[in-house]
Every structure is written in structure tokens, then in C-alpha cells.
Symmetry: C2
DNA sequence: TATTGTTATACTCTATAACTATA
DNA sequence: TATAGTTATAGAGTATAACAATA
């Protein structure tokens, strides 16, 4: 939390005067890890939308991740899925609504708990998941294909380490 | 784009049957780099909102980044800022509207280009930026404080490498 | 024709609050 | 009282299309 000041005050290339240089000066923004993280996050989401454009799961990653969690945990409740994906209960309602409307998921009445639903994939949902699994893996491979295997492993390791310290609830990965 | 299959088929801990285990099975989602990236991204954004809650720049990172880019490139046009931050022109309009309404930024008429505005910070904007700079740096430090210096440097290096290959336009970092 | 700023539209995501029915 | 699902609302982010003024 302290004693870390090995930041470069580079600011080399683009010292703009009238503000209309090709690549503007980002100031201390370029020194923030979170800035680079966020900028890449934009590209990652864009690549996702592009890869899944011709798919019923197009538009945000919520549908795919929900479908996968339900597929691997038949009978889950909405709240469980929401917690797993770090989403809100109310957000999950709309996601399940959407997936149910497309007949990919069913809300079964839960046997023990009359408050909850037991979510399950339909045959159509299972079939679709089989199809998009290839797209998802290729999308992920392609996006990070620039990295060496060592860099990729290191990135995953660092991401998991960060998640362990920032996710209060489900830090069991 | 090929020849990379060192994925572990771990799936150790939580093999749920009724779907109501503490931590559900994420299936192949847990094998995607993008999944871990996205999950951490949620926490990063949450941490930002928390850090800037008592600030005129609360609610999204767009206001802060815009303020910084304008501060470091006095006289930039809206489109330039939009391109730099990888945003849409129409999105930038609302951001500048918001910052202008709070008297942090002014839209000066551009001397040469009558189509464009020359954006500049007001004294109030400069003053605010001075204040929030500390918050921004502390927010970034704190979030990644779990990492060693070497891990942090490696993370930044990998992020920049990925950005270089995925940002078509402004890859000059 | 191309570009800048703008407006309108639409959908995702996130967050909050309040309601219902169960427990 | 606590929880699961729901509904409503709100703002941020992203994307597209179209328009007027200007180049």
C-alpha cells in the first residue's frame, strides 16, 4: 500500500501544443494500471460482440455465462447464478427472461423451496451451447493469441490473484 | 492461433449435483482468460465508483479520463478526445455537456476550424483535477497493491502488448 | 464528399428501492 | 425477520443512424 514509486515520467512522443496532435498526451492516466486495463476491456467486449453477432447470445456476455453456469449446475436458483457471476438478482431476472423467451432455459418449480426456481437447459439450449462453445474458445484464443504461452499463464495467474483479494464472496477459484 | 492446449481439466472442488452448492461449476468459462478478465473488470469499476463517490466525477470513468486528456492537451477537439479514449463522438458530446454544466470544461470556438471546439479546463476544472489526482492514484495503487512490483510491471507490459495489437487506430503507447 | 458536432434511438450493464410470496 | 423472485427506476456505456454546418 506504500513505497512504490518506480513510475516513469516519460511523456516522450506527443507533447501537444494545440491539442490536435495525432496521439494526445494522457498525463498520469497512462501511469495507472486500471487505465490500461479498462482500455483493453473495451476491445475485449467489442471482440465478443463481433464474434457472437450471428448468434442468439449476441449483445453482452451475460447470456453466454448464464447459459454455461446453468448447464454445469442443473437446478441452480437464479440467485446462485447471480452470485456466481457477480451480478444483481434483478439483473438476473431479465437475463433468464430473455433466455427463457428463446427457449434455451426453463424455470422449473423447485421441489423443496417454493420461493426458488430450478433452472435447467432445454435441448435447444444444450444444442446451442455445443455450437457456441467453439466460438467462445476461438474468440478467447484469438484475442490473447499475441501472447506467448508463458505470458498468458502469467496473466491468468495475476488475474486470479487479484480476484481472490477483491471478490468478497465467491473467492474459491 | 493454434497449437495451444495446455488447459487443465481440473473441475476439482465443486461438482454440484443439485446446483445449490456454495461455489458452482463454471465449466469451460473458467478456462477462458476473458472470463477472469471480465470478472475482475467488474470489481475494478466497482472500486472506482466507491473511490469517487463523494466527487463531481462519480459515476463511470468517462468524466475523469476526459478531464485528464483535456487538461494535458488544451485546445483538443471532442473527436480527438473521443478517439484517444476509444469512445464514440456522440458519447463524448454527453460527457462534455456534463463537464461543461459543472463548469469544469469550456467549449471555446476553434480559431481555424469553425466546425470544431477547442476544449479547455476552467480554473474550477484544474482545481478539481488537482484534488482527484490523489484519489485516482490511491485507487489504482490500492487495487493492485496485492501484486508484487514485478507482477504489476509484468501485468502492465502484457496489457500494453495486447492493446498494441487490438487498437487499430491509436496504438502509439 | 468527408468531417465535426449534434440528436435520437436502443440495448446492455449496474445499482437501488420496494413489493410478493415464501421461509 | 430474512430470503427469492420480481418490478420499477436511474444512470453509465456502447452502437447506429441521421442531420446541419463546415471543410
Amino acid at each position: 500500500m506504500s513505497g512504490r514509486s518506480n513510475r516513469k515520467k516519460a511523456k516522450d512522443a506527443s507533447a501537444s501544443v494545440d491539442g490536435e496532435t495525432a496521439s494526445p498526451d494522457f498525463g498520469f492516466l497512462a501511469e495507472l494500471v486500471s487505465f490500461h486495463f479498462r482500455m483493453l476491456s473495451i476491445e475485449l467486449n467489442r471482440a465478443y460482440d463481433h464474434s457472437f453477432a450471428d448468434t442468439p447470445l449476441a449483445g453482452g456476455t451475460g447470456k453466454l455465462s448464464t447459459l454455461i453456469v446453468v448447464a454445469n449446475n442443473p437446478g441452480v436458483s437464479q440467485t446462485s447464478v447471480a452470485k456466481a457471476l457477480d451480478k444483481d438478482r434483478s439483473a438476473m431476472v431479465k437475463l433468464v427472461d430473455h433466455l427463457e423467451a428463446k427457449e434455451l432455459i426453463v424455470r422449473h418449480p423447485s421441489p423443496k423451496e417454493r420461493r426458488t426456481y430450478a433452472l435447467q437447459l432445454t435441448d435447444k439450449g444444450r444444442s446451442l451451447l455445443d455450437q457456441v462453445t467453439n466460438i467462445a474458445c476461438r474468440y478467447d484464443e484469438d484475442f490473447f493469441s499475441v501472447l506467448t504461452d508463458e505470458e498468458r499463464d502469467e496473466l491468468v495467474r495475476i488475474l486470479k490473484k487479484l480476484r481472490r483479494h477483491h471478490e468478497p464472496g465467491t473467492a474459491g477459484l
